[in-house]
């Protein structure tokens, strides 16, 4: 078990959003986190990253409790984070964005791993262009590449498919799946796009009212439409 969250409570903007979340992700697993808007999915990722201070409960990563730690020390434990809306640094070039990903490594080991450019060749071609000039899909790839640059063991993704054409979504899903298969990267992805989930994830969990209410394998999901309907319909 690489990441386990036990009875996590957290508030954001003055209101209590996470009301006792229990979730665990096994090493190398790709888990999707689903649920209607406002169920606390994004807040959960932010809580794991320490961007939202948890009120109570535990978060253990690779055997080490990380709840309450500073965000930068959580990241240094080997967690990559791709926020909702990607948040690439528009004014910086592709190389500068990627270099930011490795800044946390000690001075000697700050070169960007070559395989990043194999995963996303487009970044290699336009490496000195401003990230702001990229399309939504390209920016998403850059954000993921930036998170992978420090070779994290866990990657958190917040709605990567948002605002991106389907072809790129499939491409990203395939690439992530290949990376995870080859490097044992664990991925927790918050996502609404069913196709992506079916393509990428192995297991999934549903959140409602600030808690994880159900977990299942993606195959069950594929078979039984009703699960999806009850949790996702508005």
């Amino acid at each position: 078990m690489i990441l386990s969250i036990e009875n996590l409570h957290a508030s954001y903007g003055g209101s209590l959003i996470l009301q006792g979340v229990d979730l665990s992700v096994r090493r190398g697993e790709i888990k999707a986190l689903m649920g209607r808007n406002g169920m606390g999915k994004t807040t959960l990722l932010k809580a794991v990253m320490g961007l939202v201070p948890p009120r109570s409960g535990r978060i253990v990563f690779d055997g080490r409790p990380i709840h309450g730690m500073d965000t930068h020390r959580i990241a240094a434990c080997g967690i990559g984070y791709v926020p909702q809306g990607r948040e690439v640094f528009d004014d910086f070039t592709v190389m500068e964005n990627l270099r930011l990903g490795v800044l946390r490594n000690p001075r000697g080991r700050r070169d960007i791993p070559p395989e990043i450019f194999d995963y996303f060749p487009i970044l290699d071609k336009r490496r000195h262009q401003r990230a702001g000039s990229f399309s939504g899909g390209e920016q998403q790839m850059l954000a993921i590449a930036r998170a992978l640059a420090a070779r994290p063991r866990l990657l958190l993704l917040d709605e990567p498919s948002e605002g991106i054409q389907p072809s790129i979504v499939d491409q990203i899903a395939a690439t992530l799946k290949a990376i995870s298969a080859r490097t044992g990267l664990t991925i927790l992805v918050v996502e609404q796009n069913v196709d992506m989930i079916l393509e990428l994830a192995a297991t999934c969990a549903f959140m409602e009212g600030g808690r994880v209410v159900q977990a299942c394998d993606v195959d069950e999901l594929r078979a039984d439409e009703s699960i999806m309907a009850c949790h996702m319909s508005v």
């Binding site: 990253m49 320490g50 961007l51 500073d70 965000t71 930068h72 020390r73 990241a75 240094a76 984070y81 926020p83 948040e87 640094f89 004014d91 910086f92 500068e96 270099r99 930011l100 990903g101 800044l103 946390r104 700050r110 930036r146 998170a147 420090a150």
Partner: protein, 286 residues
């Protein structure tokens, strides 16, 4: 010939000093979203470091080296004791640093007395350039200012530290999520910004008589330069400094120092009102 040459040199001199003072201020404001109202008093501490070393017989040069170090340390302590608790309370950081500026001013009065103090000029010679007599020391000040400004630009544009700092300026949370220690970055930035103010004070000290009230005289034009130029990018300080500093010295010559201050401040306020994001543009920091 006499006046155009001197006028240009004087304007350049005042602009560079203003930019040197404003540089520290804009880094702190840009990166930490903190307005350091005590920046003028850091300038003051730098000047009085040189006064102290002169009084103790060590002379000017050790003071010039010591000033940024001492004032940087003072900045670090203040960041740790006060600023650290006020990151998300911008207005309170203005008031808290304002209180600190009052305290520092009084400490200077207690240790050095309220009267103006002079120090022996380190480079008393004058030099003949463009057919006119110009003090060597003012050329030295310009040299130091240009060097430090260039160093700061290099540090922020070309180094890993600079990249990290600019990232924190652009998006603090994302930078933290990438593993950048934003708290250490704040401490380093505040220390560096304070050291710059200390250096500016030390450099200017021999030119004039130092008195405990002089901090404000440099703080307000420096801050207006930032607002006029735009706090978004470092280059904003250069543009703002040129407008405020150039305007002040030009009007001082054409009319009088009193008129200059009134006109330049009023111009700055109108500019800030029309272009809140500053002449250089970029997102307005709110």
């Amino acid at each position: 010939m006499w006046d155009i040459g001197i006028q240009l040199l004087h304007s350049l001199n005042y602009i560079l000093v203003l930019v040197l003072v404003a540089m520290g201020l804009v880094i702190i404001f840009g990166l930490m979203r903190v307005i350091n109202m005590a920046h003028g008093e850091f300038f003051l501490l730098g000047a009085y470091t040189v006064v102290l070393t002169s009084q103790r017989g060590l002379g000017f040069w050790p003071g010039l080296v010591l000033a940024p170090v001492i004032v940087g340390l003072v900045g670090m302590v203040i960041e740790w004791a006060v600023i650290r608790h006020l990151y998300h309370r911008l207005l309170d950081s203005i008031l808290a640093t304002w209180g600190i500026s009052i305290a520092i001013k009084q400490l200077i009065i207690i240790f050095f007395g309220p009267a103006g103090l002079m120090i022996k000029p380190p480079l008393p010679q004058s030099v003949h350039i463009l057919g006119l007599v110009y003090p060597v020391y003012r050329l030295f000040i310009m040299g130091v200012s240009v060097a430090v400004i260039a160093l700061t630009f290099y540090l922020f544009q070309r180094t890993d530290f600079g990249l990290g700092a600019r990232a924190v300026i652009a998006n603090r949370d994302m930078a933290a999520a990438l593993g950048i220690n934003t708290r250490r970055m704040n401490r380093v930035t505040f220390t560096f910004g304070s050291a710059l103010a200390g250096l500016a004070g030390a450099v200017m000290a021999p030119l004039m008589s130092c008195d405990p009230q002089m901090g404000l005289g440099f703080f307000i034009p420096a801050f207006l330069s930032i607002l006029v130029g735009g706090a978004g990018a470092l280059s904003g300080v250069l543009v703002g400094g040129a407008v405020v500093g150039g305007g002040d010295s030009l009007i001082s010559f054409l009319f009088s120092p009193v008129t200059a201050q009134i006109v330049v401040f009023s111009l700055a306020i109108v500019l800030i009102r029309i272009r809140p994001q500053g002449l250089v543009g970029g997102r307005r920091h709110e």
